[in-house]
């Protein structure tokens, strides 16, 4: 027997919406413009939306925020956007369902989810090794803005390079789990990224046949003092150097004013920015404060 839900007093209606799980709330929001607005004003909180690109589809993962890492935690909702069809598929433990909405293209689904959960952008876009290079432009059209791009470990060199070229300009952060450019990372640093992470732990980035002595480090520090942003954009650099025990402090800071703070040294630039240098037994850290 149907009931006329929208005739309920506003408070009861909102409470009813608050009792619904995320999948049901999304289904409700798709009924009409009015239900979309009601879903939006229910102020349901979700975790950051993660998108993963596979061979011919994007998988969206929507997590409720009430996750406490216990057995009764609500499961995340997985939704699938097929490149060849503007419908969305989802699995709510009763088989795969396919939803269509008249006039909805792929990007409209993303916009709809962000709208009802009051999100501004997809938090992370993951590119998997099975993703086709020819689909990268489609991915860009469907998800025109996201916070972090993550290129997975098994992606080919070509896929990694093309993904970086096409998608890094619209990301705020990039994490690369392999080494497409070998040790030449200079071309990766030219993008205006907040963070660039190399997480290929099997083959870490190496500077081979490079001798870094106090003299090179001193030059680096002097360039930083001259406010050369193009030279040093990252907020944090850690250099692993062998036999650092006997680093010559005088030579390192030659011609540079610094404050000695017990194995830490602080440099202050004319524009007020400060650089903290930490010297330990195997590494030197440079951190912009």
């Amino acid at each position: 027997m149907p009931i006329r839900l929208l005739s309920l007093p506003e408070k009861d209606l909102q409470y009813t919406l608050n009792c619904m799980d995320i999948g049901d709330l999304i289904a409700f929001s798709l009924c009409s413009k009015r239900t979309k607005n009601l879903a939006k004003f229910s102020n349901r909180r979700i975790g950051p939306i993660v998108a993963d690109v596979y061979q011919n589809y994007i998988c969206l993962e929507i997590r409720p925020t009430e996750v406490r890492r216990v057995q009764d935690d609500p499961d995340p909702l997985f939704m699938y956007l097929d490149f060849s069809n503007p419908q969305i598929k989802l699995d709510r433990k009763k088989g795969i369902e396919a939803w269509r909405k008249e006039g909805f293209a792929h990007h409209d689904w993303i916009a709809h989810f962000l709208s009802i959960f009051k999100g501004s952008l997809i938090d992370q876009l993951g590119i998997n090794d099975v993703c086709s290079i020819s689909h990268l432009d489609i991915v860009k059209r469907i998800i025109p803005k996201f916070r972090k791009l993550k290129i997975m470990e098994l992606c080919s060199t070509e896929l990694t390079k093309m993904t970086f070229l096409k998608l890094a300009p619209i990301a705020e952060e990039v994490e690369i789990a392999n080494k497409p450019f070998g040790n030449d990372i200079s071309q990766l640093l030219s993008y205006n990224l907040k963070a660039l992470t190399f997480s290929d732990w099997r083959t870490p980035l190496e500077l081979n046949n490079v001798i870094i002595t106090e003299k090179e480090l001193n030059r680096f520090l002097k360039l930083w003092m001259k406010s050369n942003h193009r030279f040093y954009r990252p907020k944090y650099i850690k250099l692993y150097l062998p036999l650092i025990d006997d680093i010559n402090q005088e030579e390192l800071f030659k011609g540079i004013k610094y404050r000695d703070m017990d194995y830490q040294y602080r440099l202050t630039r004319a524009d007020g920015k400060e650089l903290l240098i930490t010297i330990s037994w195997s590494s030197v850290d440079f951190m912009v404060l």
């Binding site: 149907p2 839900l5 409470y15 009813t16 799980d21 009409s32």
Partner: protein, 188 residues
């Protein structure tokens, strides 16, 4: 554990029959009040059970009725169907003086009554029961598709909403025009 009988809000109801009290009845005699819905059937409810309703609790606190006065003047809830009021009274009696559990399995299962029950409970300000009812309403569409939800909850389409809005505007315009004409007539 309520009792019912025919009565009116204006006349003193006949003595309602009460169900036997449980063994754990309070030592101090409990005061009782009387309510009736649209069908005029009077329900005798203890003050303890009525505490669930913020509305009735407020009315009792303000009136300071004796039991005789309460019997002579049952609280009238003309906007609530008799069977719905019966459900509410039953729930209040079942949960009298008990902490409400997180899930209530005693809630009526008739979906056709659920909507009216929500409205009644909202009016009577019974917060815990309202919580259960809203959960029950939400459960009606668990795992359903947008089309199924539209059907179960009778959600109008965008086109229907637009048509209704146009109609409402038209009606409001006509009413405003009628008022202006009436005001002009009065001025003459």
């Amino acid at each position: 554990m309520s009792s019912t009988e025919q009565g009116t809000s204006s006349a003193a109801p006949a003595e309602p029959t009460t169900a036997p009290e449980s063994a754990a009845a309070p030592e101090v005699p409990e005061s009782f009040y009387y309510v009736h819905g649209k069908d005029k059937v009077v329900h005798k409810v203890s003050a303890g059970a009525l505490q669930h309703s913020a509305l009735i609790h407020g009315m009792i606190s303000n009136l300071g009725y004796t039991e005789e006065q309460a019997k002579a003047n049952p609280f009238p809830f003309e906007n609530i169907d008799g069977d719905i009021l019966q459900m509410v009274v039953d729930w209040c009696n079942q949960h009298k003086g008990k902490p409400t559990p997180p899930e209530d399995t005693n809630l009526p299962k008739q979906k056709e009554k659920l909507f009216d029950l929500v409205l009644a409970v909202n009016y009577l300000e019974i917060k815990e029961l309202l919580t259960y009812c809203c959960k029950q309403v939400a459960m009606m569409v668990k795992g359903k598709s947008p089309e199924e939800i539209r059907e179960i909850w009778m959600i109008p389409t965008d086109a229907e909403d637009e048509a209704a809005e146009k109609e409402a505007k038209k009606r409001a315009g006509k009413e405003a025009a009628g008022e202006t004409a009436a005001a002009a007539g009065d001025a003459k």
